[in-house]
């Protein structure tokens, strides 16, 4: 635990046991709770300064909900969020406003997240006005122009309306708006998934440049493992409301310890027709978050599942330096994949258990 504490001392954001449950109610006159959708079910992580932490997972894993909980856009059920010494769960409305200056968001859909009736200048200046920064109009205008240049647009774009821009350009405007108040942490919720391939790479590069220039931290929420590999420093893989594996990017991509991470990595289509394909194809779909399986929540789809997996929920334990995985059989390449290059010093052969053919 001492290592954990030491780490948390330097981190910008600390999230502990974050939980968000949505009650399912039935009955018209006397609604009673008949179940719960466990959208986020005990998530802990830190984000350090000038770091990008990626939350990856498939739809319904709770990654976006986690992002929104951190911004307090929705109320938490339980848990702790500590941001630069402020307890975000306890903090009052007024204090929350000041904290929000350091905490901004970039949304997925650049078409829906910009007000179509405002000019770009007004969109970008809105957070400045809201926080009472730069009270003079002229100063605000200058700042807007500066921000437009910063995200690769020009001053003359300030007088245009959102519909006059392409998807990539709109996403740049969204980023400029988030940057306006000089935040410390930006939660980016699938910022490139609505964009075309060639514009996607432009936005990824832009985000990396901005991070370097301003020492920003990103919580980068995405379903796309290839994009995440490019932008993240550390990666947390989520499945059904829990983090199943969290590690440095290199460590996670090179030696994934959780069978789910492994399956995810192997499932990504490679743009190379001659690439070796040893794909782990998981059966069925992700179970519903209102009926989370007992024990390990992945056991219904896991090729390694054993009796213990159905009964005991595996804790997130450290498997290598800074690399945590929640699996009873966590080991490098728990599912035998033969044509993978053997990493030096890594034991790849695993005992074949009875239930794998």
């Amino acid at each position: 635990m001492s290592r954990e504490e030491q780490q948390s001392a330097e981190s910008l954001l600390q999230v502990r046991d974050l939980v968000k449950h949505y009650p399912i109610r039935e009955g018209i006159f006397v609604p009673r709770e008949v179940g719960r959708v466990r959208a986020v079910d005990g998530v802990s992580f830190n984000v350090h300064e000038s770091e990008t932490l990626a939350l990856v997972g498939e739809s319904g894993c709770g990654k976006s909900t986690t992002g929104r909980l951190i911004l307090r856009l929705i109320a938490t059920t339980s848990g702790q969020i500590d941001f630069m010494g402020h307890d975000l769960i306890q903090v009052g409305k007024r204090a929350l406003r000041t904290v929000r200056r350091d905490l901004q968001i970039v949304f997925q859909d650049p078409y829906a997240s910009l007000d179509p009736r405002l000019r770009v200048e007004d969109i970008i200046a809105e957070p400045l006005e809201s926080f009472g920064l730069l009270p003079r109009r002229k100063e605000r205008r200058e700042r807007v122009h500066e921000l437009l240049h910063e995200v690769g647009l020009s001053s003359y774009h300030a007088d245009r309306y959102p519909h006059q821009f392409s998807g990539g350009q709109r996403q740049r405007i969204g980023i400029a708006r988030a940057l306006a108040v000089e935040p410390k942490l930006i939660v980016a919720d699938e910022p490139v998934s609505a964009l075309d391939v060639s514009t996607q790479s432009q936005i990824i590069n832009l985000m990396q440049d901005l991070q370097e220039r301003h020492g920003l931290s990103f919580l980068f929420i995405s379903h796309d493992l290839t994009v995440v590999k490019h932008i993240a420093h550390r990666v947390a893989v989520m499945y059904l409301g829990k983090i199943v594996e969290i590690a440095d990017k290199q460590s996670l991509y090179r030696t994934p310890h959780h069978p789910y991470t492994q399956a995810l990595l192997s499932a990504v289509p490679k743009p190379d027709p001659s690439a070796h394909r040893q794909r782990i194809i998981l059966k069925d779909d992700v179970p519903s978050a209102s009926r989370i399986p007992t024990g390990c929540r992945f056991h219904t789809r896991c090729p390694l599942a054993d009796a213990i997996c159905r009964e005991q929920e595996p804790p997130l334990k450290e498997v290598a330096g800074g690399h945590h995985a929640a699996c009873h059989f966590a080991s490098p390449f728990p599912i035998p994949v033969h044509d993978r290059p053997t990493m030096p010093g890594v034991e790849t052969s695993v005992p074949i258990r009875q239930n794998i053919r």
Binding site: E58, S59, S166, G168, Q169, D196, V197, S198, T199, Q200, S201, Q202, I204, N205, Q208, H223, L225, T226, V227, K229, H230, Y253, A263, L264, L265, S266, A267, V268, P269, K270, P271, D272, P273, S274, A275, R277, R279, I281, L282, D285, V286
Partner: protein, 341 residues
């Protein structure tokens, strides 16, 4: 026209839309062919005309505003563009069938799965309800649905996204089509489900003798499934090659840019390469080569004259002046050669 009879032969197809902002040349002079049992991928970004090409083959373009300004689409020797609507209906869903991107919205929520599949079967074949149901169960088995006998009586909302896409594929295969068009079949799905569907498509290639035309924006999906690729940009074919050739030695600067700009899972670069700028507005394409506004090699000829699709290698066509050393060519002999293979 062509020496060997091909299953599908699209020649100089131009699908235009008349809008209040001007004429949108969504597909502008596209030629290609698909052999029996072949598998062609069409790749491009949004607005490249890849989906409109697919819909044109199905004749699912609403007219007006759409119209076919020129071209022929020969399917089994007959020109689909010359057929009356009534004849097209007999072909759609039987000889040519299509899978759409959104499995959520392409199924009718008020009918059972079985109802929807048997409807297609009975429309095109003279069979009894029991026979149709039997066939429906068969195709559901074919697409890897366990417990098809039970699932056939369920409604679409009972199924997950991946299952719905399987049902869509089953429906498309129910009348044993000669050509299956799949428009972004995995885009709306999660990675692990996408892997299941791609696996299924690959398996179907060997089990069903339908030719497949796969339309997608994802070069990864292209590399996994198809034999031959058509790269489209702003309504034009810019490159046409065998899949291995395309990834090993792309000839058109757009293809090169596209391949370079995708992040790859098994390599680490700090910065991604990008294609500068954005796709031009479809009502106002630049003169000459439509990629010239973003192309790092562009010269005067590129901005003035449109490059023809020329043979640049074995089974390999590209439309770039770079391949003729930026010199104009007389009517090239490869011009009519829509055929790569």
């Amino acid at each position: 026209m062509s020496t060997i009879e091909r299953l599908l032969e699209v020649h100089d197809l131009r699908t235009y839309f008349d809008t209040k902002h001007g004429i949108v040349q969504s597909v502008d002079g596209v030629s290609f062919g698909i052999d029996k049992g072949g598998c062609l991928g069409v790749v491009g970004e949004s607005g490249s005309g890849k989906s409109v090409t697919a819909l044109s083959i199905m004749r699912l373009i609403q007219t007006p505003p759409g119209r076919f300004a020129s071209g022929t689409i020969r399917f089994c020797g007959e020109d689909l563009l010359a057929k009356p609507e009534r004849a097209m209906r007999k072909i759609r869903g039987k000889d040519i069938s299509m899978i759409f991107q959104e499995p959520m919205t392409s199924l009718n929520p008020v009918f059972t799965i079985g109802n929807q599949i048997t409807e297609a079967i009975r429309l095109h074949n003279d069979v009894t309800l029991a026979q149709a149901r039997q066939r429906a169960i068969e195709v559901l088995d074919l697409v890897g649905i366990a417990d098809s006998g039970r699932l056939i009586d369920q409604y679409p909302h009972h199924l997950s996204g991946g299952m719905r896409q399987r049902v869509m594929i089953a429906m498309a295969l129910s009348c044993s089509p000669k050509l299956l068009i799949a428009d972004e079949p995995t885009t709306a799905l999660d990675v692990t489900i996408q892997a299941q569907i791609l696996d299924l498509l690959r398996k179907l290639r060997s089990e069903v003798d339908a030719a497949i035309m796969l339309v997608t924006h994802d070069l990864g999906v292209i590399a996994e499934v198809v034999d031959e690729v058509l790269v489209m940009y702003a309504g034009k074919v810019v490159e046409h090659a065998r899949v291995q050739t395309l990834f090993d030695a792309p000839q058109h600067p757009y293809t090169v840019g596209l391949i370079d700009s995708i992040p790859k899972i098994d390599e680490t670069r700090y910065r991604l390469k990008t294609i500068e700028g954005t796709v031009p507005n479809p009502t106002d394409f630049p003169p000459g080569c439509r990629f010239s506004t973003r192309c790092p090699h562009a010269r005067d000829i590129c901005r003035g004259e449109e490059p023809p699709l020329l043979k640049v290698g074995e089974h390999h066509l590209a439309a770039c002046w770079k391949n003729t050393d930026f010199r104009p060519v007389r009517q090239p002999e490869a011009w009519g050669a829509a055929n790569v293979s």
